[in-house]
């Protein structure tokens, strides 16, 4: 088979930005990007507007009263969300919509499992902090519009607007991939022989499954 290395992702090391409080518990990926945009090309010039589209825009295109529409939050590239961010549909378009707006990091108490994995695959850092920490950060961001948060992946720490440091856990392999901007297929093909050997053994042992 022929295998080309795909485009490398932008490596993630440290990042600081205006941060946006998203006060929506269980924010499902249908809210992050409604289904009717799922067939659109990722390089569609409108793509950035699909993020939170129905929370941000009225039917006539005018803007609703939503935090990401407001100055200075609309320039935010770090989101601080609530529990179960990105639950529901597996649509990777939700990550594409974040990406189209330059969002590089989402901090939340918990994430939908599939969305979490989709973030990692696209070079967006999902950070799990406690509910209390996220609530504190969101309150600080509401009280101080335009306040910044800094994220350091190498030291696994988040610095809040008041300079409080929060450490976070991340899977070693996920961290390695994010820091090096590695594409998974290229990485996996380093194990090509192992895959071939396994497939042969698997076929011999579980002939019924093939």
């Amino acid at each position: 088979m022929t295998l080309a290395r795909t485009d490398a992702l932008e490596p993630f090391t440290t990042f600081a930005s205006v941060a946006v409080p998203i006060d929506i518990p269980n924010c499902d990926t249908d809210q992050i990007i409604p289904a009717r945009f799922l067939r659109r090309a990722v390089d569609d010039p409108e793509y950035a507007k699909f993020l939170f589209h129905d929370l941000r825009f009225n039917a006539d295109g005018s803007e609703k009263d939503f935090v990401f529409n407001k100055e200075p939050y609309r320039h935010g590239r770090i989101f601080v969300a609530d529990v179960n961010w990105g639950c529901g549909s597996s649509r990777e378009n939700a990550v594409n919509a974040l990406d189209a707006n330059g969002v590089r990091c989402v901090i939340a108490p918990s994430f939908g499992d599939i969305h979490f994995s989709n973030c990692i695959k696209n070079g967006i850092l999902p950070v799990r902090l406690s509910s209390e920490a996220c609530e504190t950060l969101r309150r600080q961001l509401r009280d101080n519009p335009g306040a910044e948060i800094a994220v350091d992946l190498d030291s696994q720490s988040v610095t809040g607007p008041d300079q409080t440091n929060y450490s976070f856990e991340i899977d070693t392999f996920d961290k390695y991939r994010l820091m090096n901007g590695l594409d998974d297929i290229g990485l996996t093909m380093e194990f090509d022989d192992k895959i071939t050997d396994f497939a042969e053994r698997h076929r011999a042992k579980h002939g019924w499954a093939t």
Binding site: M1, T2, L3, A4, T6, P25, N26, D28, D30, Q31, P34, A35, R36, L38, R39, R40, A41, V42, D54, A59, D82, V83, N84, C87, G88, S89, S90, R91, E92, V95, S110, F111, G112, D113, I114, S117, N118, K121, N122, D171, T172, F173, D184, I185, T188, M189, F191, K194, I195, F198, A199, H202, K205, H206, G207, W208, A209, T210
Partner: protein, 467 residues
């Protein structure tokens, strides 16, 4: 130490384990559908080929209008393109594809088990969160994103970390008028929509054992709505009987080998679960959701809750926002909530047993509101017609449609108008899920049919007693 059914299957598919615990997992079956058309184009643009095309199966479902019989019937543009791209990609790459004129086509999560592509003991993935459905046959199945779709196509593997193990036991037996849908809604109400995050959930207990394969599939289908990527029910004689003779199931000696192996799969008595939950199956009533998360479900006999009784201010605000969006008032009885449209279908509830349950209620009655009945596959449709169910629906004034995802995701022209309210057998009541401004209440097929013939939510048990 004993192993769970999930662990037994997992261990048979580990190609390589890194020191940090990440595993390169071998994938036995990959199902795909039209909505991944851009991934197919990306594969070609990157010059990637499909490593094991005989393990890949494609079927159009998301974009297919339920009034269309062929690709040419689909309006040109964004609805038709994904279906065309899938068909051409399957042809070029040489994997099985069940096109619209093939009776085997339908919703990917109905087609897999129906064809025997899904079998106990396998690992199965699909770029759709409701892939958890297939675990009802005793396999590891989970939804993946589009980058992972391409990864599986190119390598037949995925990098994974073993989830934590949860077992949910349903004791007793479920009563008349109660179905798998009510069981899973009761579970999600109990553990919450993030309750299963990070876990694979095994469903067990006498009430699960007693369920049909269709009922089990409905339960596993909505596992993702409880936050878990993967649901599983250990294979038993019912599972084996279900798989026997299906087109892609093993035959002859291989079948015997498979069955012998499948019988070793149920969780060992000393298997360890990180979390275990027990619910009383006898206590489960027909359920209706009232909010914009599947966890906001209640027995039809209860009333719309009052947020002011909720102590947690964040939860209270969430409930208030949901009631506002859904245009409901605290204390309302479900029977006072009128519906505009009823939808029976989706990968949750479009199998033959679901249609039979809806038909039993519809028989001799008249739909009071627009009602769409959308079978899960061409074969389900044929079976239903052979049993005369189509006539029952049509005589009741309901619409008998072609298979597809339809009003579950509203990408095929079937949708609600802004502000419209549905009783729906689908799996998500998220804001706008069935069209911009749509209001969705999740119910079982029998409860959906009861809402159709009365025009409002009705306890199907009472309705059927009256007959």
């Amino acid at each position: 130490m004993g192993k769970t059914v999930f662990e037994k299957i997992w261990d048979e598919h580990v190609i390589f384990e890194r020191e940090d615990g990440d595993v390169l997992l071998y994938v036995d079956r990959h199902l795909t559908h039209d909505l991944h058309f851009r991934s197919f184009n990306a594969m070609k643009a990157k010059g990637l080929s499909i490593r094991e095309p005989d393990k890949l199966f494609g079927v159009p479902d998301h974009s297919v209008p339920t009034t269309a019989k062929t690709i040419d019937d689909i309006p040109a543009g964004e609805m038709r393109e994904p279906v065309e791209v899938l068909a051409a990609f399957a042809e070029e790459m040489g994997f099985a594809h069940f096109g619209m004129t093939d009776d085997r086509h339908g919703i990917v999560h109905v087609v897999g088990p129906e064809q025997g592509i899904t079998l106990p003991g396998l690992t199965l993935v699909c770029g759709d969160s409701h892939t958890s459905t297939h675990g009802a046959l005793g396999c590891i199945s989970f939804g993946i994103g589009s980058t992972e779709v391409q990864h599986v196509m190119a390598t037949q593997t995925l990098w994974q970390r073993k989830p934590k193990m949860m077992r949910i036991n349903i004791t007793g037996r479920i009563g008349f008028g109660v179905s798998g849908k009510d069981v899973i809604l009761a579970i999600i109400r109990e553990i919450g929509t993030a309750g299963g995050t990070g876990y694979a959930i095994e469903y067990a207990g006498p009430a699960i054992d007693a369920l049909s394969m269709e009922g089990r599939m409905t339960i596993c289908n909505m596992t993702i709505e409880a936050g878990a990527r993967s649901g599983i029910i250990a294979p038993d004689e019912k599972t084996i009987e279900y798989c026997a003779g299906r087109p892609y199931a093993p035959k002859g000696e291989k079948w015997d080998e498979a069955v012998a192996y499948w019988r070793t799969l149920p969780s060992d008595p000393d298997a360890v679960f990180d979390k275990e939950i027990t619910l009383d199956g006898d206590a489960i009533a027909p359920m209706v959701t009232w909010g914009n998360s599947p966890q906001w479900a209640l027995p039809v006999t209860e009333r719309i809750p009052d947020p002011s009784n909720e102590a947690d201010p964040m939860v209270r605000a969430d409930m208030e926002a949901a009631l506002d969006y859904m245009d409901l008032k605290p204390g309302m009885a479900f029977s006072d909530i009128k519906v505009d449209t009823v939808f029976v279908g989706a990968c949750t509830n479009s199998r033959i047993e679901d249609l039979r349950a809806a038909a039993e209620v519809a028989k001799g009655r008249r739909a009071k509101v627009r009602t769409l009945i959308v079978p899960g596959s061409g074969l389900v449709k044929n079976q239903a017609e052979a049993e005369g169910l189509d006539k029952i629906f049509i005589e009741a004034g309901m619409e008998w449609r072609e298979p597809g995802c339809s009003m579950c995701i509203a990408l095929n022209g079937d949708m609600l108008a802004p502000g419209e309210r549905s009783a729906s057998t689908s799996n998500r009541n998220f804001r706008g899920r069935q069209g911009l401004g749509s209001r969705t209440h999740l119910v079982s097929p029998a409860m959906a049919a009861a809402a159709s013939v009365t025009g409002h939510f009705t306890d199907v048990r009472k309705l059927m007693e009256e007959k």
